[in-house]
């Protein structure tokens, strides 16, 4: 049991590739890391990062923060609350739509469901293209259909998140445990059954987390909802930043933070209800 019993030299002779792995295998990982960092350093230099400027500026960093204290909504609190509610409902609806449409498509993009590279390729490229088209463009496209207003925002969010969900869901599905799927297959289940009973229970917490994250993200970001003329909290925030009303800015950020924390809380509850409580490290 102890090393004394076995002569290391003899072991070494018997398993040369365990003890003396070829340089190519040993160095591949470090080489990749070094390359990644070299590119990072090159980027930092190219982008005019200078430590001196960085440290000189550090002292100034707190300045705007000080202007933000104390957060103060002025007299606009009811408007802000309403705007937050609007944004939340647009984000909720848009993201849900995106998820509902993305789920079936993501199955077609997952390797463990469609093994054929030839069939998957167009689906993945389709999703890529949708993501590649800027959300601003989707907003303009939908304005041509349904006019300016929150509905256009819902549709624009739905389309652009559809592209992201399609990719993320399919990758979650690829990471699922095949054993459970095999259990269903072996009892004569159809592919539909394998997905419904073998895959979905496994990927549901991942998908739930992603959907809630996108709802959160759409609540935070101003772009689409503001552009299509649906107002919302993002518009208010952009406006206060533009006119440099720092106390209102910080108040709005606090409000959004609370909403984000609430979504985070729900997300945690929901996912753990699906995952089930486990031993905690």
């Amino acid at each position: 049991m102890t090393p004394r019993e076995v002569d290391p030299r003899e072991l070494r002779a018997r398993y040369p590739d365990v003890f003396d792995r070829p340089a190519s295998a040993r160095l591949a990982m470090p080489a990749m890391i070094v390359a990644a960092f070299a590119l990072l350093i090159y980027g930092l230099v190219d982008l005019d990062f200078s430590p001196s400027r960085f440290f000189a500026g550090l002292s100034q960093l707190g300045w705007i923060t000080l202007m933000m204290i104390p957060p103060d909504p002025g007299s606009s609190l009811p408007i802000y609350l309403k705007a937050l509610g609007e944004t939340l409902s647009i984000a909720l609806l848009g993201t849900t739509l995106a998820a509902v449409f993305a789920l079936p498509v993501s199955l077609l993009a997952a390797r463990n469901i469609i093994p054929s590279q030839i069939l998957r390729f167009p689906v993945r490229r389709f999703l890529d293209s949708i993501r590649g088209v800027d959300t601003l463009i989707w907003a303009l496209v939908w304005i041509n259909v349904v006019g300016l207003g929150p509905f256009a925002g819902v549709l624009a969010i739905a389309v652009s998140d559809f592209g992201a969900f399609g990719k993320l869901f399919s990758e979650a599905i690829e990471g699922a445990d095949q054993k459970q799927v095999e259990g269903i297959r072996a009892s004569g289940g159809s592919p539909l059954h394998e997905i419904r009973f073998g895959l979905l229970p496994q990927v549901l917490p991942v998908i739930a987390g992603q959907v809630l994250y996108f709802i959160e993200s759409n609540t935070r970001s101003a772009t689409i909802i503001g552009i299509v003329g649906a107002g919302g909290i993002g518009l208010q925030l952009a406006e206060q930043i533009r006119v440099l009303e720092w106390q209102k800015v910080s108040f709005l950020i606090l409000m959004i933070l609370v909403a984000v924390a609430a979504i985070d809380f729900i997300s945690g509850k929901l996912r753990f209800a699906i995952i089930g409580r486990r031993a905690v490290a």
Binding site: M1, K179, Q180, G183, A186, S187, G188, R196, Q202, G276
Partner: protein, 269 residues
């Protein structure tokens, strides 16, 4: 009648099953024995068509199982129930639903997908659970069960398929003696009463000899023994397991070791 002809399954360069051929007549209770890594699991999995054989054919009642596709393949899988070494339950579904998975092939898709199970299927699943003493766990999630409990759920799932042949991959590995007996007796009962063929990987030679009509011994993917349990002589067993015969045949009750076995004996045996 199950006929396996020249079956070979390769993973990369390695042949997990190598040119295996045998026939099993209906109602047989056949044990598959052999060392770890001999290809027992792969053999069973390829009969259920979870692994596509690289070469060779499998026939059941004169139907070429290797050529089946789509709906017919699923029906074959439903007819050949598989019990997995690692259970392969859906951890996040409850125990009863896991057992009901065995009924999927018998009902229209809308029923199963909306989880509106027919009453008699539920009754069947519940009875199967009760038969293995775990009906009280029906509502628990499968991933919260102890090892033996999970194994019994997996066996119940296979039984409710009401299969023509059962492929059991070490069905009693994690079971205590009582449950070992319950499970093996259940397999024997459905084999003898209903004439369902059973093909069962076993590590315990004693169990294999007690329950099986016939044994198939595998080594490095090849079938090296095929015959009645009584024909499994010391010599054959020694070859199969690469062991001193006494250690294998005397069954597990190894004589209480007097001295301490040195490392060499076991490793170099």
């Amino acid at each position: 009648m199950l006929v396996v002809e020249g079956l070979t399954c390769r993973f990369g360069a390695k042949a997990a099953v190598d040119d295996a051929s045998f026939q099993i007549s209906p109602g047989g209770f056949v044990g598959v024995i052999g060392r770890s890594g001999a290809g027992k699991s792969t053999l069973l999995r390829s009969i259920n068509r979870l692994v596509t054989p690289t070469e060779g054919r499998i026939l059941f009642d004169r139907v070429d199982v290797t050529a089946l596709r789509g709906r017919e393949l699923r029906q074959w899988r439903a007819r050949s129930a598989m019990i997995f070494q690692q259970f392969n339950l859906v951890g996040r579904l409850d125990v009863l639903t896991n057992v009901l998975m065995g009924r999927l092939a018998t009902m229209p898709a809308w029923r199963s997908l909306s989880q509106v199970w027919p009453e008699q299927d539920k009754a069947l699943a519940m009875s199967a659970l009760e038969q293995f003493d775990i009906a009280s766990l029906a509502a628990q999630r499968a991933d919260q069960l102890s090892g033996g409990q999970q194994q019994r759920v997996a066996i119940a799932r296979a039984l409710v398929q009401q299969p023509d042949i059962i492929l059991a991959d070490e069905p009693i590995a994690s079971l205590d003696p009582r449950n070992t007996k319950i499970v093996m007796d259940a397999l024997l009962r459905i084999n003898k009463h209903f004439g369902i063929t059973v093909l069962c990987n076993l590590h315990s030679l004693d169990l294999a000899r007690s329950y099986c009509d016939r044994l198939i011994g595998m080594a490095q993917g090849r079938v090296v023994f095929d015959g009645a349990p009584s024909a499994l002589t010391d010599h054959v067993a020694r070859e199969l397991y690469d062991l001193e015969a006494a250690d294998v045949m005397g069954g597990m009750p190894v004589p209480v070791p007097e001295g301490v076995p040195a490392l060499g004996t076991a490793a170099a045996a």
